[in-house]
């Protein structure tokens, strides 16, 4: 029941919030904060009762649409737990970050909570149809968050986001149908290790690849991302980059690898190549950006490339690294988008050239921005380093050509280059006109960032705090593949 409560509590919150009368809409803030906080507490409770070596646990398996073999099947292992924690935490932070939201509050917070339903559900679902339901459910609130509360080009960005991801996921649906007809069930755990014929696997993998790769996003399917990020309100950007991109890579790890192991091996070279291109291309584009938000958006493409590289390695190190990057990127990019949002609220510009000298005018914000940037570029001791190091290590040990791994490693340097250049321009220097007279972060804003800073440091210094949950699940997944 605990998992169902974690998934559906926000749905109750969303309904209440949506039905608030207009004059009481302000209460939506408190409802959303309470609901997401309780949800986080439930996840913490789950964490306490979680058995690291216990495999898939807290399983709920009930009949749902029996005739079509669809079940209501939820469960959590180390991989999903790390993502669930991230989802619950960032949802709460997104709510508090939206405290100053003024327009259509009831609908706004309802959308945020609905988004959490979908995200939590994706990480817990063990039935394909249920997974697909949550996977698609996420699109709807995000469409409205971007489309209603977004920037000037919000309508274009929101529909582009929706159609791109829908395009990917309908192919996933074809893959799901094919697996169902071949394997006789929609149950994700039951379909693992079935040993489907190689050609069949290859094609189904192709279908899933389209579904997941659009979400990640992998070059060349990434073009929706910068548009969506630039137009999205801060909270939506945080959740989009922090969690929704991880749904794609999570799908690869949870579904594509254990169910289609042979195809995963055949595809790994191609995926690694795309991953390396994403790393370098994303970094190069980030370098060229003049808009802070776009810079963070393209850096996401680059960082998600490391995740894909780790997955493509099919080694324990690589996949542990991939999940570590997913977790760290969620935390760090969340921080970056929050800070960029906070700076934008004050200066009303995101153009890098117009914002400089933050350290003089607003030392707290500047310090935190510098901290988040260092974490993002993978400074050892901060969370970003762990995952990228492990991903590269895994890729190096795997069959992926060494030259590609070297190119990917150069991507780390590029990340340092564009991030440091941004820090140099924005944080240092003399205050520009837009920066003059702005106020430093409020207590609410600092409180918002503290848990993310703590996680960045905690995971960065003491990797094991994250990997002790993830590693057994990764090894179990690889064992299902019949590999190492």
């Amino acid at each position: 029941m605990l998992l169902s409560a974690i998934v559906f509590l926000p749905l109750a919150g969303a309904l209440v919030s949506a039905l608030l009368p207009k004059e009481r809409a302000g209460a939506a803030r408190w409802i959303a904060a309470a609901v997401t906080a309780v949800d986080l507490a439930l996840v913490a409770w789950l964490l306490l009762g979680f058995d690291v070596a216990g495999g898939m646990q807290f399983i709920e398996n009930r009949e749902w649409i029996t005739q079509a073999g669809i079940q209501y099947h939820l469960g959590v292992d180390g991989i999903s737990l790390s993502m669930l924690l991230l989802s619950a935490l960032l949802s709460l932070i997104a709510v508090i970050a939206s405290w100053k939201q003024e327009t259509k509050l009831g609908a706004y917070f309802a959308m945020l909570m609905l988004l959490e339903v979908g995200m939590n559900g994706v990480f817990l679902a063990l039935d394909f149809v249920l997974f697909y339901v949550f996977w698609e459910l996420v699109l709807v609130p995000m469409y409205f968050l971007i489309g209603t509360w977004g920037g000037p080009r919000r309508e274009y960005a929101s529909i582009k986001f929706f159609l791109y991801t829908l395009f990917g996921s309908v192919f996933m649906l074809v893959g799901i149908i094919a697996l169902y007809l071949q394997g006789g069930t929609f149950d994700i755990t039951a379909l693992t290790g079935m040993g489907f014929p190689a050609t069949f696997q290859w094609w189904v993998f192709a279908a899933f690849f389209l579904g997941f790769a659009v979400k990640v996003p992998v070059f060349p399917l990434h073009t929706w991302l910068p548009d969506a990020h630039v137009e999205a309100p801060t909270a939506a950007s945080v959740l989009l980059a922090g969690i929704m991109l991880k749904m794609g890579t999570y799908g690869f790890i949870r579904i594509a690898l254990p169910i289609l192991p042979n195809a995963a091996e055949q595809w790994s070279g191609f995926i690694a190549a795309l991953a390396v291109i994403s790393i370098v291309y994303g970094a190069a584009l980030a370098f060229a950006q003049t808009d802070l938000k776009k810079l963070v958006a393209y850096s996401s493409v680059s960082h998600m490339g490391f995740v894909m590289l780790g997955i493509a390695s099919l080694t324990p190190e690589g996949i542990n690294g991939a999940i570590a990057v997913m977790f760290s990127h969620g935390v760090v990019t969340g921080m970056l988008f929050l800070l960029v949002g906070m700076v934008y609220e004050r200066t009303h510009t995101r153009v890098i050239e117009d914002v400089s000298g933050l350290s003089v005018q607003v030392p707290v914000a500047a310090g935190l921005l510098a901290f988040a940037s260092f974490a993002s570029l993978g400074l050892p001791g901060l969370s970003g380093f762990v995952g990228e190091f492990l991903s590269l290590l895994g890729a190096w040990k795997s069959a992926i050509p060494a030259a590609w791994v070297v190119v990917a490693a150069v991507g780390v340097l590029l990340a340092a280059a564009y991030t440091l250049r941004m820090v140099q321009r924005v944080v240092l220097g003399t205050p520009s006109k837009a920066v003059e007279g702005i106020s430093d972060l409020s207590v609410r804003e600092v409180v918002l960032l503290v848990p993310l800073v703590a996680l960045t440091l905690g995971v960065g210094i003491y990797w094991d705090s994250l990997l002790r949950y993830v590693d057994p699940a990764v090894r179990a997944t690889l064992a299902l593949m019949g590999g190492s």
Partner: protein, 458 residues
């Protein structure tokens, strides 16, 4: 129960249809007829559910199998909801009593079509189902465009009825009987059987507005009052789906090319319907083309020629009819241009969010019923080896998201200067709310219906 008491729902409708014409003598309220009709349809729905399946009338001329009962209940329930809406809104400037009566007659015909297992009964019921629809589509007597559309509909429908009748006559020639059971058991008739089957299906394709026999639909819909389109574009299609299933069951043994023909029409409908819906600015035209596309998906399931596929085709049609009717009812209230939907979220927030549920269901986004309809339809088709068509279908459903969002976008992001003055109507609101609820509930709780229709792949 055996025999004629199985037809209690039909009797109720017949009585209701006649009574609706005269009820104004008893009650001065204009909505009395519609309320009466809705009550009768509701009572008939309950009766149909209680009667259930398994019965035969007149030696099997009418047979209530699972498909027939499902379609019967669906037609009745949708008619009841439609008339409830009509009680609140009427037919605009025209009198609504006749529309109520016509809708009930059409529903009666549809129910008989779904159950008929005899060529003559089928043809007569089919005419009973379509005749009232001609009048409904031409309801606005003073409007020339309306009459033009209705005339087009009438002529094309008559022509295709005759083509179908021609095909039916071949079938009679092959088997020497009008009974489906005898025809199915007759020895295969080679080319003649194929001709017969193709003629019969062409008639049905046209009635279901499947491409390339859809030309009447956009013009007829665009000329007609949206309230008529809401009924004519949805309820008769349920009957059409049922009769296609029973005819396919009967004819596939005679003409092995039938599934291929259906598959070709399916793919043409999906492509043409979805692509042609894109540039439309009139909601009725847009929904006409979207109807073509959805018929395509339904035919895709039908082309699998398996019991599960037949069940999926019927389920898909129900999944299409419910939200589609609701969207047309909203258009009847708000205006038929896409821009008329502008700013709906500010004027009527509940309706705006309801339209999100409806349109996303038509796209196929879970957890609404449309997604489940697509899931079972596509599964049946892949199972029958039509993977390539399913790939076309899923790509086209992304395209469909494009035009459904063209409706949704003004609802949330547009503003309308001249806000129409619309009286509050509780019964109309309840009717639309019921349709929205059904769209959600049939998606989440589809299990009983799927089981009833025999959609089970293993």
């Amino acid at each position: 129960m055996t025999g004629l008491d199985l037809l209690i729902p039909e009797y109720l409708l017949l009585a209701g249809a006649i009574a609706a014409l005269f009820v104004e003598r008893l009650s001065p309220r204009a909505s009395a007829g519609a309320f009466l009709g809705a009550a009768v349809a509701l009572a008939a729905t309950v009766a149909a559910v209680i009667i259930g399946s398994g019965g035969e009338v007149s030696g099997g001329m009418l047979t209530l199998d699972a498909v027939a009962v499902t379609v019967r209940v669906a037609i009745l329930a949708l008619t009841a909801i439609y008339l409830l809406w009509m009680a609140g809104r009427g037919m605009g400037p025209e009198r609504s009593q006749e529309a109520v009566s016509l809708a009930l007659f059409a529903a009666l015909g549809g129910m008989l079509v779904a159950a008929s297992r005899d060529l003559i009964v089928l043809f007569i019921s089919l005419e009973l189902a379509t005749m009232p629809a001609y009048v409904l589509m031409g309801y606005r007597r003073a409007d020339e465009r309306n009459l033009e559309g209705a005339l087009k509909y009438f002529l094309l429908s008559m022509t295709t009825s005759l083509i179908m009748l021609y095909g039916l006559s071949f079938l009679f020639g092959i088997a020497g009987s009008t009974s489906f059971a005898v025809i199915a058991a007759a020895p295969a008739a080679g080319l003649l059987g194929t001709f017969a089957a193709v003629f019969v299906f062409i008639g049905l394709f046209a009635k279901m507005s499947a491409a390339p026999f859809h030309y009447w639909a956009p013009d007829a819909y665009a000329g007609a009052p949206a309230a008529s389109v809401a009924f004519v574009s949805t309820v008769p299609k349920l009957a059409g789906a049922a009769v296609m299933v029973s005819l396919a069951t009967m004819l596939v043994p005679h003409a092995s090319t039938v599934p291929t023909v259906i598959a070709i029409v399916a793919v043409v409908s999906m492509l043409l319907g979805n692509l042609a819906a894109f540039p439309q600015t009139d909601v009725r035209r847009l929904m006409a083309y979207s109807g073509v596309a959805h018929t395509g998906y339904m035919l895709l399931a039908l082309s699998s020629a398996t019991p599960a596929g037949y069940g999926a085709a019927v389920f898909y049609t129900i999944a299409y009819a419910i939200p589609s009717m609701a969207i047309m009812l909203i258009a009847a209230e708000e205006g038929t241009e896409i821009d008329d939907f502008a700013g709906l979220v500010a004027r009527r927030p509940a309706l705006a969010w309801g339209s999100v549920v409806l349109l996303l269901s038509l796209v196929g986004v879970p957890p609404m019923v449309g997604m489940l309809g697509k899931l079972v339809a596509f599964t049946a088709a892949v199972d029958a080896g039509r993977l390539a068509l399913v790939v076309v279908a899923v790509v086209m459903s992304v395209v469909s998201a494009g035009y459904y969002f063209r409706i949704l976008r003004p609802v949330f992001f547009g503003t309308r200067p001249d806000v129409p003055v619309l009286a509050r109507s509780r019964s109309a609101a309840i009717a639309i709310a019921l349709l929205v609820f059904a769209t959600l509930a049939l998606g989440i709780g589809a299990s009983p219906l799927l089981g009833y229709l025999g959609i089970n792949f293993f």
